[in-house]
C-alpha cells in the first residue's frame, strides 16, 4: 500500500464466542481510511460477527463474548461511553432490506431525530441529500410520505443505504447488501459506493458473497474462513494467479465454497 495511508480501524487478536461456539479465532488487521475493503468468505466464517463487534450491536446477543480489541481512530470501541454516538459513526446495511414501518421521509430522518435534531429545514436537507446519494431520490421524491415498507426490495435496500448515510457516518459497513436485490439495482448501488468512496471520502467495509463484487469495488480484500482471517492483501493480489494461500485461490476461483 501507499505510504501515506491512515489507519481507521485497528483490529487486534479479536476472538468472539457464541456460548462455547467460536465465531472469530483471534484475527488482526487494519482498515485504512478512505479505502473500500472487501471481505469475502463462505457462510459461518465470522464476517457478520466482525461488523457487529465494530458497532457493538453484538451486545444484543446474550451469549456472545468478545476478547481482543477493536480500535476506531485509536480508541478501543468497548471503552466508548456514548455507544449510540459510536453507532452513528458507522453506517450499517444488513443483508435483507429493512424499510422501517414509517414513511420514506421518516425512515431517513429517523437517525437524525434520535440524535436530537428537530429543525425541519435541516431534516429536509438531510433526507434529500441521502436519498440522492443512494440513487433513490428521483424515484420517490413525489411520495416521501408513502410507507417505506411498500417499496420494492431494491428500492428498500437503497432506502436502507440512505438511512445509513443519514447520520453522516465516517465508515459504511455493508453486509451482503445485494442478496435480495436484482442485478441492475446491484450495479446502481455499486456506483453509489464508488461515488461515496471517491467524493465523500468514506471508509467502506464491504462484506460480500459475490467475489466478483469485491474484485470490482475493493482496494483491498480480506478472505475469511471458519472464523480465521486467511489472507488480506490488495485486491489485485487476492485475485491474481498466486495469492499467498492456495485456499484463497481456490475460493476466489470457485473451486469450493
Amino acid at each position: 500500500m501507499k505510504q501515506n495511508v491512515k489507519t481507521k480501524i485497528e483490529i487486534s487478536d479479536l476472538k468472539v464466542h457464541y456460548g462455547n461456539k467460536p465465531a472469530l479465532n483471534g484475527i488482526s488487521f487494519d482498515v485504512y481510511e478512505n479505502e473500500i475493503l472487501g471481505i469475502i468468505g463462505p457462510a459461518q466464517s465470522g464476517k457478520t460477527t466482525l461488523l457487529k463487534v465494530i458497532n457493538r450491536t453484538l451486545e444484543f446477543t446474550a451469549d456472545a463474548t468478545v476478547e481482543g480489541s477493536v480500535k476506531l481512530d485509536g480508541v478501543d470501541v468497548s471503552t466508548i461511553g456514548d455507544v449510540y454516538g459510536l453507532r452513528r459513526k458507522i453506517g450499517m446495511v444488513l443483508p435483507l432490506p429493512v424499510g422501517l414501518p414509517l414513511s420514506i421521509y421518516d425512515n431517513v430522518a429517523f437517525a437524525p431525530r434520535t440524535a436530537g435534531l428537530r429543525n425541519k429545514a435541516e431534516l429536509d436537507e438531510i433526507v434529500e441529500r441521502c436519498l440522492q446519494q443512494a440513487a433513490l431520490w428521483d424515484e420517490v421524491k413525489d411520495r416521501l410520505n408513502a410507507l417505506g415498507t411498500k417499496l420494492s426490495g431494491g428500492q428498500q435496500q437503497r432506502l436502507t443505504i440512505a438511512r445509513a448515510l443519514s447520520h453522516q457516518p465516517e465508515i459504511l459497513c455493508l453486509d451482503e447488501f445485494s442478496i435480495a436485490v436484482d442485478p441492475i439495482t446491484t450495479m446502481r448501488i455499486e456506483e453509489v459506493l464508488k461515488m461515496l468512496s471517491t467524493e465523500a471520502k468514506m471508509t467502506i467495509m464491504l462484506v460480500t458473497n459475490l467475489v466478483q463484487q469485491a474484485k470490482r469495488l475493493a482496494n483491498r480484500t480480506a478472505f475469511f474462513l471458519n472464523g480465521n482471517l486467511i489472507e488480506i492483501d490488495t485486491t489485485d493480489v487476492i485475485f491474481s494467479e498466486n495469492p499467498a494461500n492456495q485456499i484463497t485461490y481456490d475460493y476466489v476461483n470457485g473451486n469450493f465454497g
Partner: protein, 294 residues
C-alpha cells in the same frame, strides 16, 4: 395425459372429505352458542326494557331492574383494568424488550404461564388474605377489583408479549444500527406496530373480569345494595357493590319466587355487555389492521 390416477383420485376424496369434516366441526361449535343466546333472548323478552337496566332490584330481587349490579360490574371491570392493564403491558415490555434470558426472567415467564392457569377461586382466597384483611381495604370495590386485576394480569402479560413478538426483529436491529436506544426503538417502532394486538388482549380480559363470580363474592360484591338510580358515580370504591355475575347466581339459587324473566334478563345483559366489548375489540383490531404498515 391428464387422466386421473388411483392416487390422484384418493387425494381428491380425502381433500374433500377433510374439508367437510372441518366445516362440520365449525358448525358444531357455533350451534350451541346460537342456541344459548337465542334461548336466553326468548325467555328474557318479557322483562327487557330500558327501565330494566336503569332501576334497582326491588322486593328482595323479585322484581325491578339491574341498575345496581350493572353499574357494579362496570366499576369492578374498569378499576381492575386501570390497575392490570398498565402493569401488565409495561411488565411485558420489560420481559420482551429489555430482559435477557437468565434464571430470573425464566422464573418470571414460568410464573406468568402458571398464574394464568390458576382457578379463580384461588385468586379469590388470595384477594381475601391480601387486600381485604392484610391491606385493610375490607370488602370493597377496590379489594374486589384488585383481586380481578391479579387474575387478569398474567393473561395481559402473555398477550402483550405475543403482540410485541409479532414485530419483526429486523426492525429493532435496524434501529439499533442507527444509534437508537432501546426506548427510542420501542416508542417509535415496536409499540406503534403492536398496539392493536396489545389492546385486543386487554379488552378480551374485560369479558373475563365481568363474568367471574368467585373472585368478587368474598372481596367486595354483595347480595343487595341499593344505589341512586341513574347516577353513574353512585358507588364509592371503598364500599361494597353489587355485580351482575353474583346477582345472577343469587337470584337463580338463593331467592325463591323470582319473576320468570329476570334471571334470563340478567344473563342477557351480562352476555350482551361482554359481547359488546368484544365487538369493540374486533372493530378496533380491524381498524388498526388496515393501518398495518408492512
Amino acid at each position: 395425459m391428464f387422466t386421473e390416477t388411483e392416487i390422484g383420485k384418493r387425494n381428491r376424496w380425502s381433500e374433500n372429505g377433510m374439508k367437510i369434516f372441518f366445516l362440520v366441526m365449525t358448525i358444531l361449535m357455533i350451534v350451541p352458542l346460537l342456541l344459548i343466546i337465542g334461548y336466553l333472548f326468548y325467555r328474557a323478552l318479557p322483562v327487557l326494557s330500558f327501565e330494566f337496566l336503569f332501576t334497582n332490584p326491588k322486593d328482595n330481587m323479585r322484581s325491578g331492574g339491574l341498575w345496581a349490579p350493572f353499574l357494579g360490574t362496570i366499576y369492578l371491570v374498569v378499576v381492575s383494568l386501570l390497575v392490570s392493564a398498565p402493569i401488565g403491558v409495561f411488565a411485558a415490555v420489560y420481559l420482551n424488550e429489555y430482559a435477557r434470558e437468565n434464571w430470573f426472567t425464566r422464573i418470571v415467564n414460568l410464573a406468568v404461564v402458571n398464574l394464568a392457569g390458576v382457578p379463580s377461586i384461588v385468586h379469590a382466597l388470595f384477594g381475601v388474605g391480601a387486600f381485604v384483611l392484610f391491606a385493610g381495604l375490607g370488602e370493597s370495590v377496590l379489594a374486589a377489583s384488585l383481586t380481578l386485576a391479579i387474575m387478569t394480569l398474567p393473561v395481559i402479560i402473555a398477550s402483550t408479549k405475543e403482540a410485541l413478538n409479532a414485530v419483526p426483529m429486523s426492525f429493532r436491529e435496524a434501529c439499533w444500527n442507527l444509534g437508537a436506544t432501546r426506548w427510542q426503538t420501542i416508542r417509535r417502532i415496536v409499540l406503534p406496530n403492536s398496539i392493536s394486538g396489545i389492546l385486543t388482549g386487554v379488552i378480551l380480559q374485560v369479558s373475563r373480569a365481568a363474568g367471574e363470580t368467585a373472585p368478587i363474592m368474598f372481596t367486595g360484591a354483595v347480595f343487595y345494595k341499593a344505589i341512586a338510580e341513574g347516577d353513574v358515580f353512585a358507588y364509592n370504591v371503598l364500599d361494597q357493590c353489587m355485580a351482575l355475575s353474583l346477582h345472577l347466581f343469587t337470584i337463580s339459587t338463593q331467592v325463591p319466587d323470582v319473576a320468570e324473566g329476570i334471571p334470563y334478563g340478567t344473563a342477557i345483559v351480562l352476555v350482551g355487555t361482554v359481547l359488546l366489548v368484544n365487538a369493540a375489540a374486533i372493530v378496533l383490531r380491524v381498524y388498526l389492521r388496515t393501518r398495518k404498515r408492512w
